[in-house]
Symmetry: C2
Subunit: 155 residues, 2 copies
DNA sequence: TATTAACGGACCAAATCGGTCCGATTTAGG
DNA sequence: CCTAAATCGGACCGATTTGGTCCGTTAATA
């Protein structure tokens, strides 16, 4: 299974690209070329980012986008949430009222702890951190060979 | 966005239900009734769990399913992976070869660290733990009011 | 006033997902 | 044996979501 939608993935790429040149104001078309992503899709992604306030948009000639905050102060979690919406593991996490099992489902309360962990993992890394070279990423390779029977969480 | 598919969610519910009566061998129909889930879907879920070796299946009259291991030794991560497949945040996490951006995409290596965190969160909790009362779930409620501008990771 | 570029939304094709159903196979019991 | 009970392994469909494109409108610059 893949957790992030393609759009959210693009969102992180685009936002990280903007973070690489903080002062510059760029058009959606330029970002598309530089990231080698389809331009119509990049425009859609930037619209979503602008709508959530992560980037500021300037219309008209000479307009374009730029980060609304410093790259150290925007987390991957925010970018993902801007495009895919608020993050929850299960149906009842996001749409609490629509779950008829609320009263008798024993597993439900336990998702909260896992949810926190996922959220914190996504919140802990900033766009600025995404720009640092891969060599500095902590524990990128598995310390030991993965157990064959264990589910894999690959890079 | 919702991370787990409905089927995977059902899988955890069903597996947890089996964990509640470790010695019993039950049919898919019985599990469906007791969990109040549609029986055809429960059958599908149990098939997937059996295929991955998490539960053992006995065919024929008097057959049914039971956990293959003790409830303390099966993690939520395994149940989810059995139904939704191996877990990865991005496309390039799961289908490494299909990503044309591999060579120049700066963000790619950084997903590994986040991936680990998500995987560990899902691996840390066992089916047995899912059965413990909600009052013992650590830090279920937020210690402080959530920041309005921060993405939410609700229960 | 013309050009540039974001905005807002509609729109479509494709893929995925939830859910059901059926024939084949296996086991237990009378 | 023969029948009933169950899983197994797929196929299958309808609904929803998703990825991606396009267009008219608005706003800003020169």
């Amino acid at each position: 299974m893949i957790i992030l939608s393609k759009l959210a993935d693009y969102g992180v790429i685009v936002a990280t690209h903007l973070a690489a040149y903080p002062a510059r104001q760029v058009t959606a078309g330029t970002v598309a070329i530089e990231t080698r992503l389809p331009q119509a899709t990049v425009a859609k992604v930037l619209k979503a980012l602008a709508h959530s306030g992560l980037v500021t948009a300037a219309r008209g000639a000479g307009g374009g986008y730029r980060l609304a905050r410093r790259a150290t102060e925007i987390s991957v979690a925010e970018v993902v949430a801007a495009i895919d919406g608020d993050i929850g593991l299960t149906q009842c996490s996001v749409h609490v009222d629509e779950c008829a099992r609320t009263t008798y489902c024993p597993t439900r309360p336990h998702w909260a702890a896992i949810n926190r962990a996922v959220g914190e993992a996504l919140s802990a890394i900033s766009l600025d951190a995404m720009l640092t070279p891969a060599a500095f990423v902590p524990r990128m390779a598995s310390p030991a060979a993965p157990q064959p029977d264990e589910p894999r969480f690959s890079a």
